[in-house]
């Protein structure tokens, strides 16, 4: 089911609206193990979403390579599911038709019709099959988005701040759901977030990125036993050390002040 994702020496430069060159990713290398839950955290502008879009195939690097099971990633593929921050559901389709979209797009709907019900109950949305996206809450909409990605049985699920727009109760609820789905499906999870607690609670490893230029500064192994307790001593210690890292990172001299 799951697979190895290799990122080596990837560079991505953007030209912003003022014509300036923005170094979104600078020589980024990372190996993601099969079945791993990995989080990418960092302040805005550090290139974490850019990296996720490159893995998805929505964007291409200027140099460097991205591979999945030793094949180059050149385009998008249903084998790398993607969950957007919000609002990516098709508003004209019901919950069940949104979830069925991948099956229909891949022309395998008829033989897999019964899978829809399975995925609806997997994300706990029984009774909302016929609802339209605007009729359900934000947390439910994200669960639909996750089910929609999972029904294609991807090797990896890429999550771009899927809980960024949710309130803290819904967020905690969805985090547990995500862990459950991860265990059930045994796929690789790559989560982009700016929430340190979320990263510690969910991940096997945390990748810390820093901006200007966007690069990986540190990779932390989270070897806390599961299920994790958000208020536990080790949990808080790890949280403190990550926060300290960011304060230090910010104290480093910035290139624009160098004459």
């Amino acid at each position: 089911m799951s697979s190895t994702i290799g990122i080596s020496n990837v560079n991505r430069v953007y030209t912003d609206t003022d014509g300036n060159q923005v170094n979104a990713l600078n020589d980024v290398s990372l190996d993601i193990r099969p079945g791993e839950f990995i989080s990418i955290i960092g302040p805005s502008g550090c290139g974490k979403t850019t990296l996720l879009r490159l893995i998805a195939g929505l964007d291409k690097p200027q140099s460097g390579t991205l591979t999945i099971d030793d094949t180059r990633i050149t385009d998008v593929s249903p084998e790398r599911g993607y969950v957007f921050q919000q609002g990516s559901l098709f508003p004209w389709l019901t919950v069940e038709n949104n979830i069925a979209y991948g099956l229909k797009a891949r022309r395998v709907f008829k033989q897999n019709r019964d899978k829809i019900g399975k995925y609806i109950s997997m994300v706990g949305l029984n009774g909302f099959e016929k609802s339209y996206p605007h009729q359900i809450s934000g947390g439910m909409a994200q669960r639909v988005a996750i089910a929609r990605a999972l029904i294609n049985e991807p090797k990896a699920l890429l999550l771009d701040e899927p809980m960024g727009a949710l309130d803290s109760f819904t967020r905690a609820d969805l985090q547990d759901k995500l862990l459950e789905l991860w265990k059930e499906n045994g796929i690789t999870m790559i989560l982009v977030t700016h929430d340190i607690d979320e990263a510690i609670y969910l991940s096997d490893r945390i990748v810390i990125m820093t901006p200007r230029p966007g690069k990986i500064s540190r990779v932390i192994d989270v070897d806390l036993p599961r299920p994790r307790h958000r208020g536990g001593g080790e949990f808080l210690a790890m949280r403190r050390s990550i926060l300290q890292f960011f304060e230090l990172a910010q104290a480093e001299p910035q290139p624009e002040y160098v004459i």
Partner: protein, 363 residues
């Protein structure tokens, strides 16, 4: 102090009101059967009044009441135009009673029916006033404002011809508008999807779109083989530009994220057009169809008035020549009913298609 007392009174009243409510089971309102019966009576009371006025009010002005013989279902019916008017009033009463009966078991329809009662009552009263002013006393300027009985005379005297012209209009509209919608949506999709088409076609559409379609009539009438195709052409272009414009806008405003999500889920390019862009553009397409529809009615009647061998516009023109204003009014009544029906059906299709928007938009 006063407020307190009023509050107490209110509470006591509420308690007192509970007892009769328990008996009938329903509060006084549109859900209550007695209330509903009264509203039904109110609805038809105006038309009953119109009948009474017609019978009781003395005929002062000199109006010729021609008698026509109608044969239907093997029966020969001799009817003067005043009888026909009363007959129509009876029919209206039956129709509104029928609607009342049909709405009996539907909560929303009941509410709507009760709310319409006052207006329907006023409609009946207006008919009575029109009858007095147009037929009984003829105080309205003649021959421009004949009474309701004379307007109905048109359908008795000229029935088959009116039907023939109505069908002609309907055929013209159906041909022109359906072609216009198909071409408009098609062009709109091409413009919205392909930047090249947008670059070359969109400005042409924008400039020619502001010209009223009837301006092209001289060309249409001389270049096209029949006057029917000429009128179809005019309706086509008036619908085409409007719908293409809005379809293109709807396609172009599809969020990038929807395309990206669809691509990752396995969509082909064609899927992106047919399962993402077009569904997203649907509300705009229907806005285009709605406004194009109104323009199509105008174009239809204008072109019928200016160069068609039939149609309601042609009928109006022909009647005007003979100063038969009662026939003009009769044709206008048919237009009002016909175009309202067309609008109703378009609205029905729109609500069906855009069911997913229910509750998002303010009604």
């Amino acid at each position: 102090m006063n407020g307190q007392i009023a509050l107490k009174g209110g509470l006591q009243n509420a308690a007192a009101n509970e007892k009769p409510a328990e008996k009938t089971g329903v509060k006084w309102g549109y859900k209550h059967n007695g209330y509903y019966a009264l509203k039904t009576l109110f609805t038809v009371a105006g038309f009953i009044a119109a009948i009474i006025v017609n019978i009781v009010f003395p005929q002062k002005a000199e109006v010729e009441f021609k008698t026509y013989i109608i044969s239907a279902f093997g029966l020969q019916l001799s009817l003067d135009i005043n009888d026909a008017y009363i007959f129509v009033l009876f029919a209206l009463i039956l129709v509104f009673l029928g609607i009342g009966l049909a709405s009996l078991n539907d909560k929303d329809k009941r509410k709507k029916y009760c709310r319409s009662a006052a207006f329907r009552f006023a409609l009946g009263i207006a008919l009575a006033v029109w009858d007095i002013g147009g037929t009984k006393l003829q105080i309205f300027p003649q021959p421009f404002f004949p009474g309701p009985a004379q307007v109905i005379e048109t359908y008795l005297a000229d029935g088959a011809y009116v039907v023939q012209n109505t069908l002609y209009s309907l055929r013209l509209y159906a041909c022109g508008f359906s072609c216009g919608v198909l071409l408009g949506v098609g062009t709109g999709i091409l413009i919205g999807w392909f930047p090249k088409v947008n670059y070359w076609v969109f400005p042409v559409l924008k400039i020619s779109g502001v010209v009223p379609a009837v301006a092209w009539m001289p060309f249409a009438l001389t270049l096209l083989p029949t006057s029917f195709t000429a009128a179809v052409f005019l309706i086509v272009i008036c619908a085409w530009f409007q719908i293409a414009f809005l379809t293109a806008q709807g396609i172009q405003s599809t969020p990038k994220q929807n395309y990206e999500a669809a691509r990752i889920l396995g969509s082909s390019q064609l899927d992106l057009i047919f399962h993402v862009a077009i569904p997203h553009a649907m509300p705009d397409i229907f806005t285009g169809i709605g406004s194009a529809n109104a323009m199509a009615f105008t174009t239809l009647v204008m072109s019928e008035m200016l160069g068609q061998p039939g149609g309601l516009g042609y009928y109006i023109n022909q009647s005007k020549v003979w100063s038969a204003y009662y026939k003009v009014l009769a044709a206008i009544v048919i237009m009002a009913v016909l175009f309202s029906l067309i609008n109703y059906f378009i609205g029905l299709i729109r609500r069906r298609t855009l069911r997913w928007q229910e509750g998002v938009l303010k009604k």
